[in-house]
Amino acid sequence: MGDTAISVQGVGKKYLLGEKAENQGTLREALMRTVRSPLAPIRRKLSRGDDGPEEFWALKDVSFEVKKGEVVGIIGRNGAGKSTLLKILSRITEPTEGKIEIHGRVGSLLEVGTGFHPELSGRENIFLNGAILGMHRTEIARKFDEIVAFAEVERFLDTPVRFYSSGMYMRLAFAVAAHLEPEILIIDEVLAVGDSGFQKKCLGKMEDVARHGRSVLFVSHNMQAVARLTSECVVLKGGQVAYDGPTPGGIQCYNDVMGRNAERTGRYQAPGDATGNRVEWIQVNASGGDGLHFWGDELEVEFGLEIVEPNGNLTFSFQICDDQRPVSHFWFGRTEYSMDVRQFSLREGHYRFSCRIPKCRLYSGHYTLTVWLADRRSNQIVETISEVCRFEISMEKQIREEYDWAEGVCLYLEDAEWTGPIPDAAKQ
C-alpha cells in the first residue's frame, strides 16, 4: 500500500446520449416542457429510464494501480475512453462510480498552453500559465530563466504571444509545462509539438521526469514514445481494461486491438458503390507474401484504376506512412522524379499500373499507403485513400551480430560504405 501512487478502483463514467439535447436547450424549451407535461420528470423517475435518454458508458469498471516511480502508458484507439479517464484523474470531470486514490501532488497536462492569452506578452503568459498549472509565483520566478532558455524565445519575451509563430508559441507553452514538478505527472499527447528537434528535447525532458523517481501516467498513440518511456501499460478497449502489464505485451495487445496484425494483407479493394474516376484496388507485392516484406528486397505496388470521365490532367501519387507520418512519397506523371511521362488514359475503362521500388530500405515496422488521385489543372483532389494496404517490413533476413534490431531505431537504413580504420598521420 505504501508505494502506491495512484489506485483506480472500479471506475466508470456514464454519459447520457441526448442529455445534451435535453438539458442544454434553451430556457424556453425547459419551460415549455414543464408547462406541457409538468409531471414528466417525476414520471420519468418512477418508470426509471423507460423512455429516458440512452446511456453510454465511456468507462466501465476500470481498475489499475500505478506504483511510485513507475511510468505507465495508457493506450487505446480513439473512443476507447483514454481522454475520459484522463479527465477523471485530473479532476476535470467526476466519475459516475468507483473510487480513485492519489498519493501525492498531481500535475496534469491535457494540453500545453492552457489559458495562454494572445494579448499578453511571453513573460506574462509564463506566469499566468504557470499559475493555472498550479505553480507558485516563487517557483515560476525561480525557474523563469530556465523556461525561457528551454523555449528559445529570449528575444521575444515582451512581445504579445499573438505575434509568435506557431512553433514559438508551442515551444513556450511546452517549456512552462515541462517545468512543472509534481510527484505524479499525468500527460496527454502533448509531445507532438514543434519540429523534430524540439520533440526530441521534449521526450528527453519526459525521460528526466521519469528518472527522478516520480510517477508518470502517459497517454499516447505514439507507440515508439510509449515503448521508450514506459515500463507498464494499460490498454483500454471500449471503456474497459483490455491489458494491464509490461509495455511490450501492451503494445502487442494494442496492435491486436487495432486489428493491425490481422490486417497485414497489403491489399485494398474499393467499396462497390463508388462512382467516378477512382482507384479500384491496390496490391502491395511483398517479398515474404501476405503483406510481409523483407528489408532490402524489391517491393512492387500495383494499382487498378477505373476511368469513368476521361480527363487528361489526372495525376497520381502515393505515400508510404508509418503510424505517425508519411515517410516516403512517390509521384506518377510528368515530374522530375519519375522517368515515366505518360498521362493517364483519356479513354474510359479499367487500367492497371505498378510502381517498383528496386531496393526498399524502410526499417522494420508496420506501414500503410495513402493514395492521392488529383486533377492537376483544377488542383482538386479526386480521391484520397488513407491508411490502407497495411504491410510489415521485417529485418529477419538481415543478420546483425552485435545487437538485435530494436524497434524504432530509425526510419530507414541507407546503403553506406565505410573505410578505415587507418592510422591518422596528422595526429601521430
Partner: protein, 292 residues
C-alpha cells in the same frame, strides 16, 4: 513589464501550500456538496493572476483604454442629471443632483459590471474548465474582483466631483468598506447563480443585461428611497443594492438619517444570495466540464 517582476519579487514567503502527502480521493458526489473554501484559499495565487489578466486585457484593444472607467459613470451622470434631475425634477434629498446620482452610480456600476462579467465567466472559461482542475469558484470570483480597479477610478472621479461641489465627507466614511464588501457579496451572489445557470441555459446571456436594467430602476439611483413610504421601505431593501446605495450616500455625503435598518436588511439578503449561490454553483460544478 517591470511591474510583473516587482510583484514577483515582493512575493509572499509563506506562499507554499503544504506539499500534501495526503491522499486525494476522487469519488462521485451526490447532491449538495461542501464549499471547500480552504481550497479556494490555497489557489489564491491563481485567483490573483486571473484578476490581473482580466484587468490587463480589458482595455488592451480599446482606443480610449482605461478612460472608459471614468467615461461610463460620467456620461451616465450627465444624462441622468439632465433627464431625471432637470426635466423630471426628481428630488435628491437636498444634495446637488449630479453628485446625488454619481454617488449611487459608482457602486452600482461596479455591481452591474461584476454581475455581467461573472455571469458569462464560466462559459467563457470553457477552455480552462475542460483542461485544468482548480476550484471553479475562482472563476466568477475573479471576474467580480477584477472590477475593483474600475471602481477605484470611478471613486476618484466621485472625489473630484465632491471637491467641485464643495461637499466634504463625514466620519461616516469609515463605513464605506462595509458597503463595498456588501456590493462584492451581492455581485458575487447573483453572479454565482447566473454563471452556473448559464452553463445549462445559454439564455442567461440575454437575460442578464435586461435584468440589470430593471434592477437599476428598482434601486434608488436616480431617485431617493425617501420617495417611498415607510412601510414599503423594508420590502424595498430586500434588494441588496438598496442598502449599498443608501449606505454610500450616507457615508460620502452624510445624507439624511442613517440607513441602518435598510443596510441590515439588504446585507442579510445579499449574504443569503451569496450562500445559496455558492452552494448551487458547487452542486452544478461537476457537470461544467461536460457541458461548457
Amino acid at each position: 513589464m517591470e511591474s510583473v517582476d516587482q510583484t514577483l519579487m515582493a512575493e509572499d514567503r509563506e506562499g507554499h501550500h503544504s506539499e500534501s502527502r495526503a491522499v486525494l480521493t476522487i469519488e462521485p458526489s451526490r447532491g449538495w456538496v461542501a464549499l471547500r473554501l480552504g481550497e479556494v484559499w490555497a489557489y489564491r495565487e491563481l485567483l490573483y493572476f486571473l484578476i490581473w489578466r482580466d484587468i490587463k486585457v480589458r482595455y488592451k484593444q480599446t482606443m480610449l483604454g482605461a478612460a472608459w472607467a471614468v467615461l461610463q459613470p460620467l456620461f451616465t451622470m450627465v444624462v441622468f442629471s439632465i433627464f431625471f434631475g432637470r426635466l423630471a425634477k426628481i428630488p435628491s434629498d437636498g444634495i446637488p443632483y449630479p453628485l446625488f446620482c454619481l454617488t449611487a452610480l459608482v457602486p452600482w456600476m461596479f455591481f452591474a459590471n461584476g454581475l455581467g462579467q461573472s455571469s458569462n465567466s464560466v462559459v467563457n472559461s470553457a477552455n480552462l474548465i475542460s483542461k485544468v482542475y482548480f476550484p471553479r469558484l475562482i472563476i466568477p470570483l475573479s471576474s467580480v474582483l477584477g472590477g475593483l480597479v474600475d471602481f477605484a477610478v470611478a471613486f476618484a472621479l466621485l472625489g473630484i466631483m465632491m471637491a467641485f461641489y464643495r461637499v466634504s465627507p463625514t466620519v461616516n466614511l469609515l463605513w464605506l468598506p462595509v458597503f463595498l464588501g456588501l456590493t462584492i457579496i451581492s455581485a458575487l451572489g447573483v453572479g454565482l447563480w447566473m454563471s452556473a445557470l448559464n452553463v445549462q441555459y445559454r439564455d442567461v446571456r440575454h437575460v442578464v443585461p435586461f435584468l440589470t436594467q430593471i434592477w437599476m430602476f428598482l434601486t434608488p439611483i436616480a431617485y431617493p428611497s425617501s420617495l417611498l413610504s415607510e412601510k414599503w421601505r423594508l420590502l424595498y431593501s430586500l434588494n441588496p443594492m438598496t442598502g449599498v446605495v443608501e449606505g454610500f450616500r450616507w457615508g460620502m455625503l452624510g445624507a439624511s438619517t442613517s440607513p441602518g435598518r435598510m443596510v441590515f436588511v439588504s446585507g442579510l439578503a445579499s449574504v443569503l444570495v451569496l450562500i445559496s449561490g455558492a452552494f448551487y454553483f458547487r452542486r452544478m460544478e461537476k457537470n461544467f466540464a461536460d457541458r461548457v
